[in-house]
Amino acid sequence: MKLYEYAAKEIFSGAGIPVPRGNIVTSADEAGETAKKMGAVVIKAQVMAGGRGKAGGIAKSSNPEEASRNAQRILGMSIKGLPVRKLLVEEYKKPQIEMYIGITIDRKSRCPIIMASSEGGIDIEETAREKPQKIVRMHVNPLTGIHSYQARTLAYSLDKKNASAIADVITKLYRVFTEYDCTLVEINPLALTTDGIFALDAKMVIDDNALFRQDAKEEETGSLEELAKKRGMSYVGLDGDIGCIVNGAGLAMATLDMIAFYGGHAANFMDVRAGADAEQVKTALGIVSSNRNLKAIIINIFGGITRCDEVARGVVEMIPEIKVPIVIRLTGTNESEGRIMLGKHGITMASSTEEAARKVVELGHTDK
């Protein structure tokens, strides 16, 4: 679960990491009011998208009028398709040096990795590519947590003069990383200003698997992705016209690949996970068929924990509402029961992923 900048900054600040004073506003007036109290401010669009600055979603404002004007403009924007509904109005801190600190999981070493650079800011990925020696990396043993010497050594590599303040930020950031079950925490830039060190931006992603023990709550968007997630399924909308329902992410990807292999285009990725019952299959069909571009649907189930008869029951109950042809492949647990249930409904059957993909692409084309 990705957090908005302002939510991440609240947590960082609570952990003792210095962030500029700031206010969340939803109107130009509020932005002006805040600027009256703070003086020079930065107005920052709160959207879950990178490149806000380059898109014009961040604006320095020297006085309340300018702040209000900038807020007005940014509140009217969409960044990468996401409408801007909230702004963070923050006291302006002029950065003298922009550093980078990020902590994520190194899958290969199976432990947290801290990355730090004295050359932070918007071009950090370029720095990583062009001047890899400018990025210092340090693994942390998850059983001991960060050792003081590690924070200190990283801090020395960034700015020896301010090492102790930087080491403090790194230590606290690591604490946030573990206490909040993060898969990512990032400060870019960590800025040295005339008022000291400040985290001018903040990124934080919480492990979805750990949400049961974190009280972070996602803002609801009403999207199909969210609806699927609530029902324990995984849905991603795509550009094509063949709806897909598969159990297992790997098999789902293989199904998409096979559709592409036969010249078709998937309308979505949908993993109903292991053990889906008839109700879940119905929900999945409802989500997938809500797409108006749909030409055909493929259902690809290899039942292990999932029972084929449950899947078939869900499909049969939804048939009256589905207006496009369905190709279904059912293998595994209670396969024959499932096939019998489907037999009388004129649904195209297949016995492998490849066959199902080939057939659904044909059906989709025929329909055009």
Binding site: K2, G50, G102, I103, T104, I105, R107, K108, R110, C111, I113, M115, I124, E125, A128, R137, N141, P142, L143, T178, D181, T183, L184, E186, N188, K203, V205, D207, N209, A210, F212, R213, L238, V246, G248, A249, G250, L251, M253, A254, L256, D257, M258, A260, F261, A266, F269, R273, A274, G275, F302, G303, G304, I305, T331, G332, T333, S352, T353, E354
Partner: protein, 287 residues
């Protein structure tokens, strides 16, 4: 003899009284797996499908002497179950549970000693046809033979195993290492065992987008004497949600399927284009 498991494997089932644990214990027993005990705290003294149930792994060890364990407990408690299995000397721990927090898994992996090998979490387990099965792969799909299979996926593993069997290509062992960001044994760990296993003549490696697990195995594959056919899914998958800058900085690659395929092919590893293509290429190597 399969890798990691065989006829002599004495299996413990942690979480045996749950609905999935109980169902899968029955499936494994039907397959021929030597299940010697189950554990569910508070249910000690009962039986599931004739298998004695204990309150703790230690008791199960004292009474039934298992050497491998499979874990079906809910994600909140799964890491603790792995710690318990490891502390009790289990040589192989197979964790089926999906949804374990990644910080728990990092702690588990940092804790495990070399004498305890972990498969998963979030994996379908391991099957040595005709000998033993630990996990949840459907019983019917396997055929004894000489192909070693290793995969990060669940149902896709069944699909490939099923395809191989239907084409007469039996398996020495099929292994799912799990799809989570942090797992126990890696591709390379399994490949090493296949390379040493006299019964395995060729290996199928099924990878997918995300991370660099496939790329990390390349170095080992290059030194192998046995043919390895890889298959990577996710070519047409939507690009993953980006993980800030850090995700891109931490690994050289972006984790896309095309990048993986390019890396494997550049290193001279065979990459199949579809499941059917795996069969074709295996037949070429094994003819």
């Amino acid at each position: 003899m399969g890798i990691l498991i065989n006829k002599d494997t004495r299996l413990l089932v942690q979480g045996i009284t749950g609905s999935v644990g109980s169902f899968q214990a029955k499936q494994m027993k039907d397959f021929g797996t030597g299940i010697v005990a189950g554990v569910t705290p508070g249910k000690g003294g009962s039986e599931v499908h004739g298998i004695p149930v204990f309150d703790s792994v230690k008791e199960a060890v004292d009474e039934a002497d298992p050497n491998a364990s499979v874990i079906f407990v809910p994600p909140q408690f799964a890491a603790d179950a792995i710690f318990e299995a490891a502390d009790s000397g289990m040589e192989l721990i197979v964790c089926i549970t999906e949804g374990i927090p990644v910080h728990d898994m990092m702690r588990v992996c940092a804790y495990l000693k070399p004498q305890s090998r972990l498969l998963g979490a979030n994996c379908p387990g391991i099957t040595a046809p005709g000998e033993s099965k630990i996990g949840i792969m459907p019983n019917s799909i396997h055929l004894p033979g000489n192909i070693g299979l290793v995969s990060r996926s669940g149902t896709l593993t069944y699909e490939i195993v099923d395809l191989l069997s239907k084409n007469g290509l039996g398996q020495s062992t099929s292994v799912g290492i799990g799809g989570d960001p942090v797992t126990g044994m890696s591709f390379a760990d399994i490949l090493e065992l296949f390379e040493e296993d006299p019964k395995t003549h060729a290996v199928v490696l099924v990878g997918e987008i995300g991370g660099t697990a496939e790329e990390d195995s390349i170095e080992f594959i290059r030194g192998m004497s046995k043919p390895v056919i890889s298959y990577i899914v996710g070519v047409s998958a939507p690009p993953g949600k980006t993980m800030g800058h850090a995700g891109a900085i931490v690994s050289a690659g972006s984790g896309s399927a095309l990048e993986k395929i390019a890396a494997l092919e550049n290193a001279g590893v065979t990459v199949a284009k579809s499941p059917a293509d795996i069969v074709k290429r295996l037949n070429y190597f094994l003819r």
